[in-house]
């Protein structure tokens, strides 16, 4: 009797150990984090904002209990602004690190290189900062394969339109501008940008007297500014992202008498003032969100939390990367799965109020398939100006936090 009870007890013990061993992976699976890969150039101002924004969102989601109890884990990869490094990171993210979705880069060339891999590996991807129109064009033309790619930022054409819309008010009405020189860096994202600039500027009654495409490797902008000055335009309309500090400083040192207005991505971070020693004074640039404008109730709290955590205001892709993590989390929750096709289907039904506005993705009927809906009530552009070390939103009127103000050497149109 005693023997039996002993062996019985031993059997029970064994059984419970076995059951425990079996149950362990199950329990672990329920608590397994959901991994999201972030691929960006972390030594660049615009690039580092991507993992920073994403991590901030993940922390907040996890603090609030995660996605149905599962935590979000951000897996970071530095692509050193190289398409080859980015592709390797993407493959590693999918094959080894088993991420369920990727947030990738602010450089169009890199995103375009990743796009076929997203399709091949059926790994959902969103870019928080690249702008080339080709990204959504590919989704539109080959939806069945390319549907895993989402565009979390404005397409170049839309950016140009936003600049022109602001230009109608600021340049034409306020500054009496009649002529402009378009000055853009030679890159994939500026091809559609410039094409649209030329079209829409003449649409608002501004004559484009020259169109300059400068090499992103340029360090001495003196000859370019001298040429521009010789043409005597009323304004320089910019399309720059890889360059920014150097042309701005040389523009100020040479006291080029024309305002710079348009896209200048490096100007979108607070470090720009310090990097240029204040030469940024008067530069007007396009953003979809600014740290001082409540585009939505989430914008200012995000910008403040970001600045508190990282010591600088977020670069433009920081806002969108933050929103992207929330949108993925929301889609995973609604899909009840991280399975790629279900996740994509849920992402397509996204209706999310983020830091940059209300985000919905366009369908196959639009040429910007999986791009964001743009316009009042959704995502729309702001024009921001550097004034005395601070960025001040100057357009549209209902969001403006200050008035347009230029240094004394800038001649306004007449």
């Amino acid at each position: 009797m005693k023997e039996i009870s002993h062996s019985k007890r031993r059997a029970t013990l064994l059984a419970s150990v076995l059951a425990g061993a079996l149950a362990l992976p199950l329990a672990a699976q329920a608590a397994d984090p959901i991994k999201i890969g972030v691929i960006a150039e972390t030594s660049a101002i615009s690039g580092v904002a991507i993992p920073n924004g994403a991590k901030l969102a993940a922390e907040e989601i996890n603090k609030a209990g995660g996605i149905n109890g599962r935590m979000i884990e951000i897996v970071e990869y530095d692509d050193h602004n190289s398409a080859a490094d980015a592709v390797r990171a993407f493959q590693r993210a999918g094959n080894q690190d088993k991420v369920v979705a990727v947030i990738a880069s602010y450089v169009s060339e890199v995103v375009l290189a990743l796009q076929p891999w997203s399709a091949r590996m059926k790994l959902p991807m969103i870019t928080p900062g690249a702008a080339s129109d080709v990204i959504t064009q590919r989704v539109h033309d080959d939806y069945a394969n390319q549907k895993y790619v989402f565009h979390g930022y404005l397409a170049s054409t839309q950016i140009a339109d936003a600049v022109c819309e602001a230009g109608k008010d600021i340049l034409v009405t306020q500054m009496k501008v009649k002529t402009a020189v378009v000055m853009s860096e030679d890159a994939a994202w500026t091809v559609p940008l410039d094409e649209e600039y030329l079209k829409c500027l003449s649409g608002i009654g501004i004559k484009v007297v020259d169109h300059i495409r400068l090499s992103p490797d340029t360090t001495d902008f003196t000859p370019i500014f001298n040429k521009v000055e010789g043409l005597k335009p009323d304004v320089i309309v910019t399309g720059i992202s890889h360059v920014g500090v150097q042309p701005t400083v040389q523009w100020q040192q040479q006291q080029v008498p024309m305002a710079m207005f348009g896209v200048s991505s490096q100007a979108s971070s607070s470090t720009f003032w310090k990097d240029t020693n204040g030469a940024a004074e008067g530069v007007v640039f396009n953003m979809v969100s600014a740290p001082d404008v409540a585009s939505t109730p989430k914008t200012i709290p995000f910008a403040q939390a970001y600045e508190k955590k990282y010591g600088i205001t977020p670069g433009y892709a920081g806002y969108t990367a933050y929103d992207d993590v929330y949108m993925y989390a929301d889609a995973i929750k609604r899909a009840g799965s991280t399975e790629p096709d279900k996740l994509v289907a849920a992402m397509e039904k996204t209706d999310w109020v983020g830091t940059i506005g209300r985000i919905q993705f366009l369908g196959q009927d639009s040429k910007f398939t999986h791009g964001m809906k743009i316009g009042p009530g959704f995502v729309s552009g702001l024009m921001v100006q550097w004034q005395g070390g601070k960025t001040v939103t100057v357009w549209p009127a209902d969001a403006a936090t200050g008035k347009l103000r230029f240094p004394a050497n800038i001649k306004l149109g007449n």
Binding site: S43, S215, N226, Q246, Q254
Partner: protein
């Protein structure tokens, strides 16, 4: 009017190239070292000047001084941590040491560039201009700082000339360049001369970095281009020849400026590279090289 612009811009950029390249060529002439971390030390110096002027109330001159001191510190670090251990190594065969020094300084330069990118991002930084404002030269609005750049560069070149030709230390330097063995036979300690030349090199490279930072701005991404540009000027002028480098700096500076103004800014360095290929074919010792 464009002619005057080209004249002024070309002069300023050439003077800047000259002090960077003279340091590079002096180093090779005296100690036989081709320092491929040249561009990296320039960038480190400029970023230091930017950071110090931004963080402390020292003004543009204080920042610039900090940049030059940083140049000297990193020049000595390059010598003591990278070059000297290779030169004195017993395991590296003598005939391979030059290759080791080339590789060592190249890697050291990449490490410095990555460190700058890590701590300060690869966004370009601009050093506070020593003087602000613009002056009119023949009706052309020219930033005063651009003139200041050329003036400082020429002052330093003048001082270097005095040092080399009028002081004992300078004469020993030249002697080491011509015949180091004879110098040791005369009882001179070569390692002291090397320390001196690395110090002079540090001042030149630090100053070149600071002036470049104030003139155009620098980023850790520029490291390779800066080394390559100093290298091409020195090869064009003749390796080890200071006056050759001076002339070559002006040839390169003006050729680039001409191209940028008259053809297109995006191909500014192309004619220089073509010229370099031609020189290597026709006159491999360079313009003023002795061989």
């Amino acid at each position: 009017m464009q002619a005057i612009q080209i004249l002024i811009d070309g002069f300023a950029i050439s003077s800047l190239y000259a002090i960077g390249a003279i340091g590079f060529t002096l180093m090779f002439g005296v100690s036989g070292v081709l320092n491929l971390s040249h561009g990296a030390i320039m960038v480190v110096s400029a970023v230091a000047a930017w950071a110090v002027a931004g963080a402390l109330p020292v003004g543009p001159f204080g920042g610039a001084l900090a940049g030059v001191v940083t140049g000297v510190v990193f020049a000595y670090a390059t010598y003591l941590l990278v070059v000297r251990p290779i030169q004195t190594s017993r395991t590296i065969p003598g005939e391979e040491k030059e290759i080791f020094v080339l590789t060592g300084t190249l890697i050291w330069g990449i490490m410095l560039a990555e460190a700058v990118a890590y701590f300060f991002t690869n966004n370009p930084k601009t050093v506070l201009p020593l003087i602000s404002g613009v002056v009119m030269i023949f009706g052309e609005r020219t930033p005063s700082n651009k003139i200041m750049t050329a003036v400082i560069a020429w002052a330093v070149i003048g001082l270097l000339w005095l040092l080399v030709n009028r002081t004992k230390a300078g004469k020993t330097l030249m002697a080491a360049a011509i015949n180091p063995r004879a110098l040791t036979l005369l009882g001179y300690e070569l390692s002291h001369i090397y320390l001196l030349v690395w110090g002079i090199y540090g001042v030149l490279v630090g100053l070149a970095g600071v002036l470049l930072g104030a003139f155009l701005g620098v980023s850790s991404d520029n490291v390779g281009t800066l080394t390559a540009s100093a290298f091409s000027i020195v090869v064009l002028g003749g390796l080890g020849s200071v006056s050759g480098s001076l002339i070559a700096a002006y040839v390169v500076g003006y050729l680039e400026t001409f191209t940028a103004y008259l053809i297109a800014p995006s191909i500014r360095t192309v004619p220089v590279l073509l010229l370099l290929v031609a020189v290597v074919y026709i006159r491999p010792q360079g313009l003023m090289g002795r061989r």
